[in-house]
Assembly symmetry: C2
Homo-oligomer: 404 residues x 2
């Protein structure tokens, strides 16, 4: 059986994802689609709107055969580490291709870009450092350095967040000489940062915004969602009482900061360059999470960077936790969240080829990194009413979700 | 001017306290009454029902001339350290006597008891250790050891929590040869653990219980409170939205535990003898703070001991914080919360006699121990709505409360 990998957040799963799944299947010719998905917290440092189990169910209903969880330590990171964790997880699970969305739909642009990058890497790194030293934020510094070495072309605009991710996947594959074909799927209609709905395909950003701003599952929104997603969104809120957003966690992270010394804050991953003082200074009087970040934000620190840092404070993810990644050549394990019959058949054959354990339950004492997952999961459910928390956490200890 | 010291929690201030104040003034013949009061958290490891500033106002209205704050590191402790901090604070402020409540109302019983204790201290300590080794909780072990050396007499029953405190005050005074006369004020009517109201004098326990169980300021309760206390209780709830109780903090402390490793938990003061494992194990599924403690409780660990431990987890008070006390001969500072004109006149004369700084604002960078106070205060206000927290915290930065 031939498998193709997708790297996703499904926050929430929507019609654009259905399109991506169909195209990926068609273009890769794979029998089995494997999605590696962020868990409780996402790359931009936000909590997922509904939990990973409910998102898994939505994805399995629409053509994904296997859903794997990208560990927190890779998921809530900038593109390099994010790509490293995702591509490595897919490699362990034996995919022969990875399909990612791009504007052009031509993977050659990315592989050609990689050659340019490799040839000019020293210049790139030097320029990047210069721009950073000037006080520029990383994404902007990196974009300019790419541009200077001729990498920001019309073919592959690295100012587009999706293209940066795509390029990171290709770079990871090629850096490690992995036997994986990168495939670029041409994106349809809506753009990453779009805040308006465009017909039945809308960006996850615009859907989340509308859901969280209190519209709920309006007709306009359900049009952009497969039926099973709408059902999972509905069930999740009915059973848990909320759709998660950062403001739900504001009290917790504020309390935590208010009871930590600056020295303790500096032990947290992402709290660098004296940010601990800035965090403490701005904490007094911040009336919302949004306002707090706005008070900390400078040219050097993007919203995303700060949101990730707050996710690490919230989950108590320390620099010591991060050191676990330093000496790992690959991901320490592959966590299976759910699968179809096809996925199960595929994994039965693949399992013995894997160089790391395939696990399904969080309780398994496989690797110290699972302690970080436990913290992230506990944090995620902390905002549920006390009598619901345990019920939702119990999902972490169940066998993987199975769908016909 | 002659000053007399009181050691109090005023949680809340009630008619029994008015009686104690009048008797103390009469029996000591002092011109100035100085109360050293627990701040945000109390000896039993509970949050105070209303904050220290509102309790200070209630006390100043009823005859106390100066209210000083007992630092958290002394306040949320068993009787020895509690007494050490309170007596030392009063000594620094120059009192010539300390009045405490007792059943008999005869201080000689306590000083005689001290002589018996000193003579038999070695035996006491040995017996205490034996009982502890048998798995007995400290209060019970200590009571039995006192009994064995002939200290639990009808005159001074050390099974009574108030008598234990009184005895600790006397012991601290006499151990350090402080020029302070201990005076026992005969208690009137209600008992420490009474849960029923008895006329217009009721125990703080019964008043709190009735207030928190939703009766609010009923006629029956206001009868037991001076007018100013009822006013402060009313104002506090109106302005902050709550009267504080442990259950308000359950979510915060639960979240904190769920994102700490057992290793991290063991760095917290009071988390000893492997309790970190027991705390983690019982956290899953605990639906309330009450239920959580009940699951942890054993013969060895009393409710109070566990509540104090949870207060330290909640406020992030570490064993390292506690080490600050080890090398201090006296309290590091005296914190003034409020005073009357009489109190002010007294302090003007006394200030230059003090061997430690007299401070009023929390922001003053006088001593590292103030960082612990900051954590305790921030924690206390964490359960207020976001827009109120800052407003209430600002009280910590104001000059002391002044009353005519």
């Amino acid at each position: 059986m031939k498998a193709c990998g997708l790297i996703v957040e499904y926050n929430p799963f929507h019609n654009g994802h259905v399109y991506h799944i169909r195209q990926s299947k068609k273009e890769s010719g794979a029998d089995c689609l494997i999605a590696v998905m962020s868990g409780s917290f996402l790359q931009r440092g936000e909590p997922a709107i509904i939990d990973k189990f409910h998102r898994t169910k939505a994805a399995l209903a629409e053509g994904v055969d296997i859903v794997l969880e990208l560990p927190y330590l890779y998921a809530v990171q900038s593109s390099n580490l994010f790509a490293e964790g995702a591509v490595r997880t897919l490699h362990e699970s034996g995919v022969s291709s990875i399909c990612f969305g791009s504007e052009s739909g031509d993977a050659d642009h990315f592989t050609e870009g990689y050659s340019v990058y490799r040839k000019n890497e020293t210049v790139y790194r030097k320029l990047l450092q210069n721009y950073l030293d000037e006080g520029m934020a990383f994404p902007e510094a990196s974009r300019r350095a790419y541009e200077a070495i001729g990498l920001t072309t019309e073919k592959m605009d690295l100012a587009q967040p999706n293209n940066i991710l795509g390029f990171s996947y290709v770079r990871t594959i090629m850096d490690h000489h992995l036997p994986i074909t990168p495939m670029a799927i041409k994106r349809k209609k809506s753009h990453y940062h779009d805040q308006t709905m465009t017909g039945s395909i809308a960006s996850a950003t615009s859907i989340r915004r509308k859901l969280l701003l209190g519209e709920g599952l309006s007709e306009e929104i359900t049009e952009t969602l497969p039926e099973e997603t709408a059902r999972q969104l509905h069930h999740y809120k009915r059973d848990s009482s909320i759709w998660h957003s950062w403001e739900d966690y504001f009290n917790l992270v504020h309390y935590r900061v208010m009871t930590m010394s600056t020295r303790e804050l500096a032990t947290i991953h992402g709290v660098d360059e004296g940010l601990e003082y800035r965090i403490k200074k701005t904490a007094h009087g911040a009336a919302s999470f949004h306002q707090w970040i706005q008070r900390i934000k400078t040219k050097r620190y993007t919203w995303t960077r700060l949101q990730r840092m707050f996710a690490h404070i919230l989950t108590n993810t320390t620099k010591a936790d991060m050191q676990r990644l330093e000496h790992t050549k690959t991901v320490p394990y592959v966590r299976l969240l759910g699968m179809t019959k096809t996925g199960q058949a595929y994994l039965n054959g693949q399992k013995k080829e894997m160089s790391v354990p395939l696990i399904s339950k969080l309780s398994q004492d496989v690797d110290p990194m699972l302690a970080v997952e436990e913290k992230a999961s506990n944090t995620y459910y902390s905002v549920l009413p006390a009598d619901k928390r345990e019920q939702f956490h119990r999902q972490e200890l169940q066998p993987p979700i199975m769908v016909e």
